[in-house]
Structure formats: structure tokens, C-alpha cells
């Protein structure tokens, strides 16, 4: 349970980090909070030749709400975002979801962007980013670009980020008027990986439900304002379309059941908390 040897680089600026990543290529990995990468290093599931540590780069610590977005820099921890006093008004879904991520001790170090870069299919932050229609802001020595969340996540631990790119920041749209949000999750124990997690958003015209832990990435679906048996039918169809598999945590059948049950609860909560 010790990492294989690697070189360690602590760049003094983002441009130094990008240059190092460009020359390191596939053999280099970015280290931010390390709450996903360090366990993988300890278990030798990954054995990079070079680690580039962004965790102390001040230029990646920005956290600001402006022009309709809450932008979270790559070095901002989950605990720092959770402690933001205005978060519940700005992005209420994040305020609801953050307490479900890992534990107090891991949120203290784990970063928001790191969880998104890691792209675990059951992770809460990728789910929120997809549910809200957020964006991933990528940067390399060559260029800057941003991708919508739905185009960023490609599969388990697989994203559209290229080998020489860093997630510089992610941005979540600020709450729109008359929307309600809710987050629900079932895991073996609190803080474990979600078996199924649901994020619901409701406004005066329609519903959106995003589901994590079932498909190979978080998936969102939009409906008009359904209720009763129509909503049950829509949830059932969505649960089957997600196509989850049996694994050591749960059966596909149980996951479909959770989509129907906690999906419905989350939608009802989101409808009820519309202002």
C-alpha cells in the first residue's frame, strides 16, 4: 500500500504546471486534493512518472459568483465551498449535495474540480454539474476551452480532457428564479460511494432529474410537469434506459428501484421548495 516511485513537481504558477504537463504527457498526473488520486497511487492502480501538485497555487483558489455563474477554481476544497455562507442561495443543489461527499476529513482536502476530473460514475459533484448544466473550463499550454458537463463525462473515470489539459475551474449556473432543487442518495453507509444518487430541479414549466451511480456517467432527463402515474411511468422508463449493471454493491434491479423511489422523492421535494 505504498505508491510506486514518481518525480514530484510543485510549480510556482499555472503556466509552469501547463508546460510540465505538456512535456510529461501521459506519464504525468495532476495532484490537487489527492482524495481520489492518492488511494489509487497507494494501491498502485496508477503509476505515473510525474506528479504535478496544484494544491498550493493561489491563482487556482478563486471562488466567485458573477455573470450568472459560480466559478470554482481547481484548488478550492469541497469544505471551502461548503462553508461559503451564500451557497444555499447561489447554488442550492450544491449546498444539498456537498454533505454527502465523503467525510468531514476528506472534504477538508478534496477539491471540487478534482472530483470532476476523477469522474467516478457515482460521485456527487459530477452529478450536480450535469444536473445544473455546468461547464468545465480546460486549459493547456496550447489553448483554453470550456465544455458543457454532458460532453465532458464519457464513462467511468473517463473524460474529454486531453492529456495536456488541466481543469482550471468549473462553473455552476446560479439559481434561476422559481426553481426548486433536491438531492437524494442511498449508500451502504453515509459517506460511502452512492449506489444511486438523484438530483432534481423543478421550475414552473418542467422537471429535470439527473441520476448517478447507475449508468457509466451521470445522466439527466427533462420532462414537463408530470405527476401521479405519468411521473411513475416516466421514472420507470428512465430507470430502464440508464442500463445499470449488477456489481458487488447492488443489483441492477435494486438500482432501478432506487431511481423510481428516491427519484420520485427528490422530484417531489424540488417541486415543494420552489419559491
Amino acid at each position: 500500500m505504498k505508491p510506486a516511485p514518481f518525480d514530484y513537481l510543485r510549480p510556482a504558477s499555472l503556466s509552469e504546471a501547463l508546460a510540465a504537463l505538456a512535456s510529461g504527457g501521459d506519464e504525468a498526473r495532476i495532484l490537487a486534493g489527492g482524495q481520489s488520486l492518492m488511494p489509487m497511487l497507494n494501491m498502485r492502480l496508477v503509476q505515473p512518472r510525474l506528479l504535478i501538485d496544484l494544491s498550493l497555487l493561489d491563482e487556482l483558489r478563486s471562488l466567485e459568483a458573477r455573470d450568472g455563474w459560480l466559478t470554482v477554481g481547481a484548488a478550492v476544497t469541497q469544505a471551502e465551498l461548503m462553508a461559503r455562507p451564500t451557497l444555499a442561495e447561489e447554488v442550492p443543489l450544491l449546498a444539498a449535495a456537498l454533505p454527502w461527499i465523503g467525510h468531514f476529513q476528506t472534504r477538508n482536502r478534496g477539491t471540487v474540480c478534482g472530483s470532476i476530473a476523477h469522474a467516478d460514475p457515482s460521485a456527487e459533484l459530477p452529478l450536480c454539474l450535469v444536473a445544473l448544466g455546468g461547464e468545465v473550463m480546460l486549459r493547456s499550454a496550447r489553448k483554453r476551452r470550456s465544455l458543457p458537463a454532458a460532453a465532458f463525462f464519457l464513462g467511468p473515470l473517463t473524460t474529454a480532457k486531453e492529456a495536456d489539459e488541466i481543469i482550471e475551474a468549473v462553473r455552476f449556473p446560479l439559481r434561476k428564479a422559481e426553481t426548486g432543487h433536491a438531492f437524494r442518495e442511498v449508500a451502504m453507509r453515509h459517506g460511502d460511494f452512492a449506489i444511486t444518487a438523484c438530483a432534481a430541479i423543478a421550475d414552473r414549466n418542467g422537471l429535470r432529474l439527473a441520476v448517478g451511480g447507475v449508468a457509466d456517467r451521470p445522466i439527466a432527463r427533462d420532462w414537463p410537469l408530470l405527476a401521479g402515474a405519468e411521473l411513475d411511468e416516466a421514472l420507470n422508463a428512465f430507470a430502464w434506459d440508464l442500463g445499470g449493471d449488477d456489481d458487488q454493491h447492488a443489483t441492477a434491479r435494486y438500482r432501478r428501484s432506487l431511481v423510481r423511489r428516491i427519484g420520485r422523492t427528490a422530484i417531489e421535494e424540488a417541486l415543494a421548495c420552489r419559491p
Binding site: 512518472r49 465523503g102 482536502r109
Partner: protein, 167 residues
Amino acid sequence: MQALTAETRHPVTIILNGQRRSGYAHPRMLLSDFLRHELGAHGTRVGCEHGVCGACTIRIDGVAQRACLTLAVQADNRRVDTVEGLAKEGRMTALQEAFNRHHALQCGFCTAGILMSLSDYLERVPKPSEAELRDMLSGHLCRCTGYAGIVRAVMDVTGQLRETPHV
């Protein structure tokens, strides 16, 4: 830019419980191993080494986190607090006394990590509800106590204990 090569042991200095301590570490050395093997500070326990069990929880610059998910070289020039730093002049803290009183430990393997988490957490949340406290404790595994004694100890030290402690 600081570039450290894999094959070399690099000097690392931390402020351990208020004292400057120095040692050497390869980049891949975990902070938990640096504390124990390089500095001989054995209070911090090593359990799962992938961030789940919580035994190695320490404070870096005051913030509770896993020593096994931190590289020793990342702690260079930073303040690291471990369980050895809690008691002053041989006197246990009120929290440690309460752990003793309420049978909040048996084998003690998880205790150092839990105390370090609590020392950060109670500064932020001085009077947690039992639900909040249990949520925070979910980041630690204790196989002896069933957590009941730990919860009682914290409720006691935060002035929230209503029932008489079991004797």
C-alpha cells in the same frame, strides 16, 4: 518551481506540535510514514492507507485530514499537529479526560485520529447535535466502542450530556 526526483531523499521540515522537526523523504513517502519512521512520532496510527478508516487523521495548518493521503513533501514548512501535541505538561485535555471517563476507547487504535478530527471540528462547531457529531464520526472506523462512548464523551465535554453516564 520545486522539482523533486523519485530516487532522491529530500529534506523535509515540519512544525510538529509546535517544534521544528526535520527528516528526509522520497517523493512517494506518505506523511503518515514520515511521522512514524522518520521522526519517530508513533502516536499517529496507520490503518487502511486509502483514506477510509481515519486512524491516521492529523491536522495540517489546523485542518483535520488524512496523513496517508498526503505526501511528506507536501507538508514541508507546514504546521502538523498530532495526538502527541494535545496533552500539555502531562495533563490530558478535557476531551481526552472525557474519553477516559466515558469508555470512548478500548484498544485505542482509532483514538488518535478521532481526537485530531474532534480538535478541529469542535473549534468550528462548538456544540454539535448528536446527528451532526455522528455524521462527522462517519469518517472514522471504531470496532470496539460502537461509538456510543465517543458520542457521550463529546456531549459531556460540550456541556450537552443529559443522562447520567453508565458506570
